[in-house]
């Protein structure tokens, strides 16, 4: 059912790993060249920057072309005509994506991805234009189905993320109860998680593992966000900066049940990730654990203190250093199959890119507005670099 053959995708994975290992010095240049020749595949790829730019320009062309069609031929169009043509555009863009892959063998090239994204967009807007009130739920339902199909067919992880977002939209049509919406979203994600967990087991050492890993991580994160009422509330900004969520917005039992669950989920996710040695699931487990610590006080209705971030920071640093020390003390620096040193050239590359970018943004991030300001003391800023050295008291 996938648009790419298993052999081609396995060859792509092999080439990526060989390049990584050669960069890390596990292979000599002669070995790398010899092995690379045996993993040649017909898929056409490009680097990440050109991929993003190609994606953007394809979106511009498709958006402008569709708008031009309506302006030139159907001005002013009726809702029904608009709907019919948008559905035709959806079919055409999807067909174009299939053609681009089958004829030109594009693989993560930006163009076929933008065509896929537009096909979902045109489909949803087309259905929206055709529907009368009362059947609006068909829009997110169609979005879920189309996004899942594109994820399944093309293997694009963000198509699965789009499907998850459509599910949130869909839940709004089922019930007006916020509690029921949270439960419905979490239940659907849990059903997806069970399915993915069952399906991915035989593919642990194949090219499919990474894709399933990302999807499982997204589902875990989705479930966590759905049950953490201090994160998934639509009124998120108000509660963070004005005051904590009141328990009266949700039934008391439901509210406290979710509080228990946000403490249960992070260790469960981490355990799953560690057991399977799954990088994305481990990352989501860590993120969930940090979010639980950050949202615990608002959950309990306790006041935040200015030193809370310091305690969180000290905890994170302590965990990292202890883990590093514990791993290093194992035989050969390995414990239970885990090690601290770098084994991938990609990790170094991402650290180099990330450290330069994060170093720039961190000057703003480290100086939040004070919670309570005494009359003659004000400490803002850091808005001109220098980590706050230009701030005003």
């Amino acid at each position: 059912m996938r648009v790419y053959s298993a052999a081609s995708e396995e060859a792509v994975r092999a080439r990526d790993l060989l390049k990584d290992w050669a960069g890390e010095g596990f292979l000599t240049q002669a070995q790398y060249q010899s092995m690379e020749q045996e993993t040649v595949c017909d898929l056409r790829r490009t680097n990440i920057f050109l991929r993003i730019v190609l994606f953007l320009f394809t979106l511009i062309i498709l958006g402008a072309a569709a708008a031009l069609f309506f302006v030139v031929f159907l001005s002013p169009p009726s809702a029904q005509t608009t709907s019919v043509f948008l559905l035709i555009f959806a079919a055409m863009t999807y067909g174009a994506a299939e053609f681009a892959v089958s004829r030109f063998r594009l693989y993560r090239y930006g163009i076929e991805e933008a065509l896929d994204a537009c096909s979902v967009g045109f489909l949803c807007v087309g259905i929206q234009a055709a529907l009368s009130s009362g059947t609006d739920f068909l829009v997110p339902a169609a979005g879920v189905i189309a996004s899942l199909w594109i994820w399944h067919r093309f293997g694009l992880p963000y198509a699965f993320l789009a499907a998850m977002i459509f599910v949130i939209w869909l839940s709004g049509y089922w019930t007006s109860s916020h509690s029921a919406q949270h439960v419905a979203v979490a239940a659907l994600y849990a059903a997806g998680l069970i399915t993915v967990a069952a399906v991915r087991s035989p593919h642990r050492f194949t090219y499919l593992n990474k894709g399933y890993s990302i999807v499982e991580a997204l589902l875990w994160l989705g479930i966590y966000l759905a049950i953490n009422l201090n994160l998934s509330s639509v009124d998120l900004l108000r509660q963070w900066w004005v005051g904590p969520l009141t328990t009266t917005e949700f039934p008391r039992t439901f509210y406290w049940a979710t509080w228990v669950l946000i403490w249960c989920f992070p260790p469960a996710i981490l355990a799953r990730g560690v057991r399977r040695k799954d990088r994305f699931v481990i990352a989501v487990g860590a993120i969930a654990a940090i979010l639980t610590l950050v949202t615990n006080k608002p959950y309990l209705g306790w006041q935040r203190h200015t030193w809370d971030p310091m305690l969180l920071g000290a905890l994170l640093i302590g965990v990292a250093l202890l883990l590093r020390r514990w791993l290093a003390a194992g035989p050969g620096g390995i414990r239970h199959g885990f090690t601290a040193p770098r084994l991938s050239d990609k990790d170094k590359h991402w650290m180099n890119v990330g450290s330069a970018a994060l170093g720039l943004v961190s000057t703003r991030a480290i100086t939040p507005s004070p919670q309570t300001v005494t009359p003659d003391v004000h400490f803002g800023g850091g808005d001109s670099g220098g980590g706050g050295a230009t701030s005003d008291f």
């Binding site: 070995q31 010899s34 730019v53 402008a64 302006v71 084994l343 939040p368 309570t372 230009t390």
Partner: protein, 314 residues
């Protein structure tokens, strides 16, 4: 054919030694599984959260805590961080040097951030250089450049470059009028200065691996400045020509050095700049939409040609 099967074949063919085969087969199965990236992210997040809380606490409670206590704590932290870094650092080398430990880079980063917090506190409480506050930024940038080159640290180099940018920005803020034009000129001077400094340091063999950081920052600042000139209604022709020249240079550099971020900069900034000029005189939806279709297709064809010829995989 799975990767494990391929590895087995390569071992049988003699391309891989049995030891290499065991290592690579293990790595492809995630054995051992490296937590390098996760540990680094935890440390980075921890440092950031810690300094955020520190700044927040100092700003909120400075009166209750008192200047002496605040400065003692900040100075002690600063001294501890820098003592650790100077005492544990390997000898200086102009080439790339690995960190002696996982925590090393982050303690240096923590020390740099604490320095900034303490400096801000000192100035704002005691107004030591009240009329010459920009000097703090310049001095901070100088210190951060020294630390970045002494300890080979990209985090601190980024702090140095952003502090230097702040110094340029604050200087502009003192100008009473024509701020946009002046700001633009200073941004261009900044980007040229940073680009030239990076190039000179690279040519002299001083941490040449850091050149990419200089160049990316310089390119983005330069493009933003030129674009803001193109967007202005008056005297935009010169800015437009400068933008075209910068795009050509960025494209050439990106293709020559296989650094495709520069190709992307040239494509996006160039398209935005050229479009902003051309669509000024276009009236009507049809002409405007036609413009985007035609130019979008032209850009796409050009980028596909570049991708086919130069940008495979990377």
């Amino acid at each position: 054919m799975t990767l494990l099967t391929r590895l087995e074949q390569w071992k049988v063919q003699g391309i891989l030694s049995p030891e290499q085969h065991a290592l690579l087969a293990g790595l492809s199965r995630g054995e051992p599984f490296s937590l390098y990236l996760e540990l680094n992210l935890l440390l980075y997040g921890g440092i950031l959260a810690f300094v955020a809380g520190l700044g927040w606490t100092v700003s909120t409670w400075s009166q209750q805590l008192g200047d002496v206590l605040v400065l003692t704590i900040l100075s002690a932290m600063l001294a501890a961080c820098f003592w650790y870094c100077f005492s544990r650092a390997p000898g200086w080398s102009p080439a790339e040097v690995s960190s002696p430990s996982l925590a090393f880079d982050y303690l240096l980063y923590l020390g740099s951030l604490v320095w900034s917090v303490e400096l801000a506190y000192l100035e704002n409480r005691f107004h030591l250089l009240s009329a010459q506050r920009d000097l703090y930024l310049l001095a901070t940038a100088g210190l951060f450049f020294f630390l970045a080159y002494r300890f080979d640290n990209r985090f601190v180099l980024s702090l140095a470059l952003s502090s230097l940018a702040g110094w340029f920005g604050l200087t502009v803020s003192h100008w009473p009028s024509h701020q946009d034009a002046t700001y633009r000129q200073y941004a261009i001077v900044y980007s040229l200065f940073v680009g030239a400094a990076g190039a000179i340091l690279q040519r002299r063999g001083l941490k040449p691996h850091l050149f990419g950081t200089y160049l990316n920052i310089a390119a983005n600042v330069l493009f933003w400045a030129l674009l803001s000139g193109v967007f202005s209604r008056q005297d935009y022709v010169l800015w437009f020509l400068a933008l075209l020249a910068a795009c050509a240079a960025s494209l050439a550099w990106g293709l020559w050095r296989r650094q495709f971020s520069f190709v992307a900069y040239a494509a996006v900034y160039g398209y935005v700049g050229v479009s902003s000029i051309l669509i000024r005189d276009i009236n009507g939806e049809t002409a405007l939409l036609s413009y985007f279709v035609v130019t979008g297709v032209a850009m796409l064809v050009m980028l596909v040609q570049i991708a086919r010829r130069f940008g495979k995989e990377a």
